[in-house]
């Protein structure tokens, strides 16, 4: 009997872990503010062409595969990036473009 209970608990824990790794926290676990933010972003996302939606989904897959501390680092960095004045943000994007084009391997 105990063995069956233990197996059931392990299976339950595994399914919860799998669900969390698939989509993160479930909708009902988000705060109203988080739901609001997700909803607004979702509405914009739905206006993008399907190909572009897929591109964002692919990036999300990569984001999800990152360790939590790396995800948090990106969130913090995003706050810094967003805090930049519009002109500096534009300059940064331009610098980023050149950085991507720079010759590699030296």
């Amino acid at each position: 009997m105990r063995l069956y209970t233990a197996i059931a608990l392990v299976a339950l824990a595994a399914s919860v872990a799998r669900a969390q790794s698939w989509g993160g926290r479930p909708w009902n676990d988000l705060t109203p503010q988080e739901q609001e933010r997700a909803w607004q972003n979702y509405r914009r996302y739905r206006q993008l062409p399907q190909e572009q939606q897929k591109g964002l989904e692919r990036r999300y897959e990569r984001f999800r595969a990152m360790p939590p501390e790396e995800q948090q680092r990106l969130r913090d960095t995003y706050q810094r990036y967003r805090g930049l004045p519009r002109e500096e943000r534009r300059e940064f994007t331009e610098k980023y473009r050149r950085w991507r084009e720079r010759p590699r391997g030296n």
């Binding site: 993160g24 933010r37 997700a38 473009r97 950085w99």
Partner: protein
């Protein structure tokens, strides 16, 4: 370049993530294709709007304030409309109509008289009541105010039952601006610090 390839490049192009050659190809294409140009402009504006969204809980209070403000304005407009509608009636006429309606309502209303047939339930009496009711100012909550509230909620507030794709991966949408700028953010420090040769 064909439209299909251009469409695939647009988000990356807006984020500055394609090579100059590809960008040139895309620019040449959109210069000749109004659909793709419109797509590019729309994406720029959409993704710009995405980025301008606050990450923290500023939106709900703003939305709440805006909603309340709109509702107050709508209520005031409705009140004004009501006053305008009845304002031209001389006050004594309105008062007399009010008294007549009140008297008829008290005498003829069927509530509290269930089970016993009353004159108020006869077709004649009902007809009198309908005629007498005509000048009564509309009492129920005004429709326009309701519409404003619903439209605002539809626009800004998440539905009670989120769409399946939103419910399946809410964190994708919560973190969408980060995901969109992911590569930029991953190398933020390096890009900030690096000295790059000048353009050209």
């Amino acid at each position: 370049m064909r439209c299909g390839s251009a469409q695939k490049l647009i988000v990356a192009a807006v984020d500055g993530e394609i090579t100059p050659e590809r960008r040139r190809d895309l620019d040449e294409h959109v210069a000749a294709c109004t659909d793709c140009l419109a797509e590019l402009r729309a994406t720029e504006s959409l993704l710009g709007a995405l980025e301008s969204l606050p990450q923290e809980a500023e939106v709900p209070s703003l939305v709440e304030a805006a909603t309340l403000r709109r509702m107050r304005v709508a209520a005031a407009e409705e009140q004004e409309r009501k006053e305008r509608r009845w304002g031209w009636f001389p006050a004594p006429v309105l008062a007399a109509a009010g008294v007549a309606v009140l008297a008829l309502t008290i005498n003829l209303r069927p509530e509290g008289r269930q089970g016993t047939p009353q004159p108020a339930m006869t077709p004649e009496a009902t007809g009198v009541r309908q005629v007498a009711r005509a000048p009564e100012p509309p009492a129920p909550p005004p429709a326009p105010r309701q519409e404003v509230a619903v439209a605002t909620a539809d626009d800004a507030l998440p539905p009670a039952d989120p769409p399946p794709d939103l419910a399946a991966a809410p964190e994708l949408f919560m973190n969408l601006p980060i995901i969109r700028n992911m590569e930029k953010l991953e190398h933020f420090e390096a890009i900030t610090m690096v000295e790059l040769p000048p353009n050209g």
